[in-house]
Symmetry: C2
Subunit: 342 residues, 2 copies
């Protein structure tokens, strides 16, 4: 496609900085290569082929997904060794079995005996068999240290990462003592994988996802710095309301999502380059912007002026957009189309 | 398509009760026909051709939209007399001009002199001219009484509807006194149009939208009753966590949206038929359900059991779904595909 400036795009628009995405991917790949741990990047944040390719270093192997629609989408695009990182819903056993038959490796998670019983009702064709004579073969333990999302700062993240790692390593030892020496161990979240502790080198796999974009929430947690955040929503000023000391912009929750309301001093997003502005509230297609202190200088924000929103939660914001506009060196160089549904 | 039970659908899934949609549409059409006021239904809640047809009583004429993508979508599907009910963003003037040239009637809104100047830079072809010799022709005044959304009960809604109506009628009188007798007057919101006051008969148009589905928010406001709400998200139980007195279900914010968190005693949704259950929190694809009081009886909610969520805000929940499954008399009878983007 012809290159053009991000500022020419119809707003609101979700834009992705290709260089930052590549840097975030490379940093995570190198970090866990050095630790000798397999990185299994999670696709749920972006759900695009292009980003999946970048996160796997071009291999299209060894990924985690959050929906079966993602699993099918990546399988169609030549990805393999896919982990459906979700307690398998019983209505999806048949589709999972079909994917298992198509792919070299397709993993499902269970956390109940009922799910185990359901898997047993659907043996796999083509010589594949997940069953041993006495039951299903356990290939790994999966823990998501979601509690890192309440952290504040690197040391706090490391403390939770250590606690989770110690917990799962202890569990693995118990399994080994009980005669189960094969299963892999896996933990992960973007905060813990951005600041891993040394003991994580004893794990088999990690599965972070959000780090490919990062966002204001990850900045707040301490996972990343502003310059690592790869995504923005561009929005234009569409109204001046001096009687309310407010601007109206053309991005509402349909373009940003309502995720994280009240979690930032600047409201629903960070307005880049304007630390005194707050995205106070949104309707479906409108955003209300006001100064944190003082009166708005409307000359600085004429009708039509572009503002750049750093999302609180990139996963939630990306979900609102059917197309991601990808830019590099000030030019739009690609359009990515995420998959949707379940 | 072949009919099947909603309970056979892959979850989470957004389902629409066709009979309730038709009843909600018919009630609104009849209400304003009797008052002699033109109903201009808003498409933003559903963004589908099928619902647009039902809301216009089959005419495909006289609608309001919230994005230019919706305007183009409805124009392509034979709709006309379309109001782009939004302060026109300056980057969209050219596309608006093209739609004005294609359609018999396409209306835009402005609330600034800058927007007026921009419209003047793009005269319309084909003999159409929105300009008079001295400027742009004003064809109507549009007010959205969004403050009805903070109402509680029919009397409160009527008080706000009366205040807004009185305000705009007074404004129209002032315009008439200043020699401007032509412009139409328009107000509307689902609460005020569900319980209109008599003075609204003096308006030219009303433009509600959400009423086609209604939702838990509209029940809370007093616009509708439970039996009028036409949409649900179906979700399945995927986990039992007795140590936390919780169920896990397969609907997170990707299937419901985060809209309205904390606004209902039952959390992010109403769980139909289970007034003692609360949707406490969500991740992207998981929902945590707990009892409001007492201990969960897990036998009532086995793994795989279906729960039926009444969304807090149907507009926000519908936006999360690329397909709506439409049911009637217990069978899935259609699939509707909404438009997206801007």
């Amino acid at each position: 496609m012809a290159s053009f400036e991000p500022n020419d795009l119809c707003t609101p628009v979700f834009i992705v900085d290709l260089q930052k995405v590549k840097q975030n991917a490379q940093a995570m790949l190198e970090r866990f290569q050095q630790m000798g741990v397999q990185l299994r990047p999670h696709m749920k944040t972006h759900k695009t082929v292009e980003c999946g390719e970048i996160m796997t270093g071009g291999s299209r192997r060894c990924i985690a997904v959050s929906t079966l629609a993602e699993a099918a989408f990546y399988a169609e695009h030549g990805f393999d060794d896919i982990l459906y990182a979700y307690p398998i819903p019983l209505d999806k056993v048949e589709r999972c079995a079909q994917l298992s038959e198509e792919l070299v490796l397709f993993h499902v998670l269970i956390d109940s005996r009922v799910a185990l019983q359901q898997l047993r009702t659907r043996p796999l064709k083509g010589g594949k068999d997940i069953f041993q004579s006495e039951g299903v073969e356990l290939t790994g333990i999966y823990v998501h240290c979601g509690n890192t999302y309440s952290c504040s700062g690197e040391e706090h993240i490391k403390a939770i990462a250590q606690k989770t790692t110690t917990f799962i390593l202890h569990f693995m030892e118990k399994m080994k003592a009980a005669g189960m020496d094969g299963p892999k161990s896996s933990i992960g979240s973007t905060p813990s994988c951005s600041h891993p502790v040394q003991d994580m080198a004893q794990l088999s796999e990690v599965h972070p996802g959000n780090y490919i974009f990062y966002d204001a929430q990850q900045m707040k947690i301490g996972s990343c710095k502003l310059e690592q955040v790869a995504v923005r929503v561009l929005t234009r000023v569409i109204g001046h309301y001096p009687s309310r000391n407010q601007l109206l912009v053309d991005c509402g929750w349909a373009g940003l999502s309502h995720d994280g309301g009240g979690c930032l001093p600047t409201g629903y997003a960070i307005i880049e380059g304007h630390p005194n502005l707050r995205l106070l509230s949104m309707t479906q297609e409108h955003g209300r912007v006001e100064p944190i202190s003082g009166n708005l200088d409307y000359k600085k924000f004429p009708i039509g002026a572009m503002l750049c929103l750093i999302p609180y939660h990139a996963c939630a914001t990306a979900m609102m957009h059917a197309i991601f506009f990808v830019h590099s060196e000030g030019k739009v160089v690609d359009k990515w189309t995420p998959t949707r549904g379940w």
